[in-house]
Every structure is written in C-alpha cells, then in structure tokens.
Subunit: 190 residues, 2 copies
Amino acid sequence: MELLEQRILKDGKILPGGILKVDGFLNHQIDPALAYEMALEWKRLFAGEEINKVLTIEASGIALACMAGYVFRCPLVFAKKSKSRNIADDVYAVEVESFTHGNTNTVLVSKEYLGPGDRVLLIDDFLATGAALVGLKALVEQAGGQVEGAGIAIEKAFQGGGELLRAQGLRVESLARIAEMGDDGSIRFC
Amino acid sequence: MELLEQRILKDGKILPGGILKVDGFLNHQIDPALAYEMALEWKRLFAGEEINKVLTIEASGIALACMAGYVFRCPLVFAKKSKSRNIADDVYAVEVESFTHGNTNTVLVSKEYLGPGDRVLLIDDFLATGAALVGLKALVEQAGGQVEGAGIAIEKAFQGGGELLRAQGLRVESLARIAEMGDDGSIRFC
C-alpha cells in the first residue's frame, strides 16, 4: 500500500536491534485518517470473506482494529494482556512472547465474545516473528471459531513470521512488507 | 445521548462493588458504529473549539479516541501505562490510581507527541473518581499544552469525579451520566 510505505519512509525511524519506530503515526500517536485508509484496503483485500468479528491484541492494535470493525460493520474484540497465570474459567487464554519487550504475557479473551459462529479477521500493527498472530489464532481455535485471515500494517518480512504462517495456510495481508532495513536508516520494501 | 443510554440498559450489567460491566460493546468487545456516533456527538458538543489532538489512556480509551480523532481530523495519542517508576528523559509522566484494578500506574507520553501548541480533547470510556482525567490533564499541562475539555462515554456521577473536575473549570461532556445503580440491577440516569 503506497500510502503506508511513503509514510514509513517519511516518518519511520530505525533504532538499533532491528526496531522500526513508527510511533508518530501508528502506535503511540496515531493518524486516524491513515488507519481508515488501511481498513478500506483490508476490506478490499478480504472482500470475498464473510467476516463477522475483528480480533486484535492490546494496546497498539486497537485503533486499527476499531477502524477495521467500522469498515467491515462488525464488532472488534481486543485480547487483554495479563501478567497473572491464574486463568478464570470464563476466558480463553494463550501465552504470547513479545519480541519488542522481551517478555511473555498471558493473553485473554472472554468466552462471551468469541465462539463457534465467529469468522474472524485478525488485525495487528506489526508482524515480525508471528508470535502475536499465532496466539490470536489459537484463541479463535479454542473458541471453535474460524480465522479468515490476518490484516497487518507492517510486516518485517526478514524475520520470517509471515512466511511461516502463510506456509501453514493462514492468509496474511500486510500493507507494507519490509525486506531489509539498513544500518544507515534505509528501508527496502518487498 | 439516547443511543448510549439505551445500549447501557440493554447490554450493561451491574456487578457487586459498584462496577458497571459494559464490555460487550465498550471496552473488551467494542461496537465501532456506536463509537463513531459517540465521536460525532463530541464533535457537535465541542464544535466551537479548535482541537488539534485527542489524548486518551490505554487500553480501553483507544477505540473511542481513534474515532474521535477521525471525526475531529486530528491525531490521537494514547498515554502508556508502565509499572516502572524509572522515567526516561523523553517522556512526560504522572501517577494514576485505578479504581477498577485497585493499583497505581505510571502513565507516560513521549515529549515528541505533546507540546505547547496543542489544544487537547481528553477522551475516556469511564469517569468515576476522575483519577485518569486528572492524570491526562497533568500530562498536557506538563507539556505546556491546553486542555479544551474531556469527552467521556459513561460518567458514574454518584462517584463525584465529574463534579469535582467541573468545579475546577474543566469542561466535561459525558454522553451517559449515571445517577444511581440499584442492587436489583436498575440504572437511573441523571
């Protein structure tokens, strides 16, 4: 998606350790007009699917998921991160490792809001190793629902998570796919 | 706002301890069409103000703030909760007590995304004791910005936070104001 790629080139910053900082428009400060355009693009890409729910993970996926839900005319659910391993009976839960923060969270969704009738679009701002998507997919499967695919803003293709998930049959639509980030701050898209 | 009050009566649940559970449409599963209508209502209420930024606190304020930013045609920023008291130089920080979770968080905004030029609309899903709004207001003031007002979904008027903040001169526009919640599950709006 040209609009997103241009914005990454304009406002993104590469930090040591393979971190792409886009918190000026995507995940601390957010440009809602861009989020809306991204949602329209996912709608175009998944036009053939009967999606009735959007699922994301707190916190930085929520704004994108809200716009996606608005455009797909369905509710969104955000999975909640919990430090506690004591899981109540009324939730689905998985363990998700965070690449950015270097820790593991238990990620929860109430059983009230995910079930066998659901055909779910997963939404997230980043796809790197794929751990968050694997976790969200597992939550939907625990609930007996069906994952129709994943809409991602930025895929760091060089970290391999996207290819792994596609090889397992998950449809992943990333609006910007980064092939390479140079130490000189350069970014090459796929 | 009639639409929100009706939705609270239809889908809200009162739990022991004065908790109003609205996580079927507001803060776990979210109805984005309702969020959009709420944003339009805040736009109508704050029509005279030159708002150039929306500020909320993670996680449940983000969806509403995203829609508000979309309607006000300005970016939104979400303040991040941190367990750590080690504050970096490049952030504004305040301590905020959580009524729901019974703990205290350090709440941070990067100095890059809040500054003297900003005329800010605060957005949150709930207003009870007012601790979150006080914290967000303090962040804007640290940055030298101006708070134009606060847009709240549900105010628990009986907890007094709203009246306190209004008495201090903050313009608070709550779309549903609850005067009383009965042990029998009844809700009376102001």
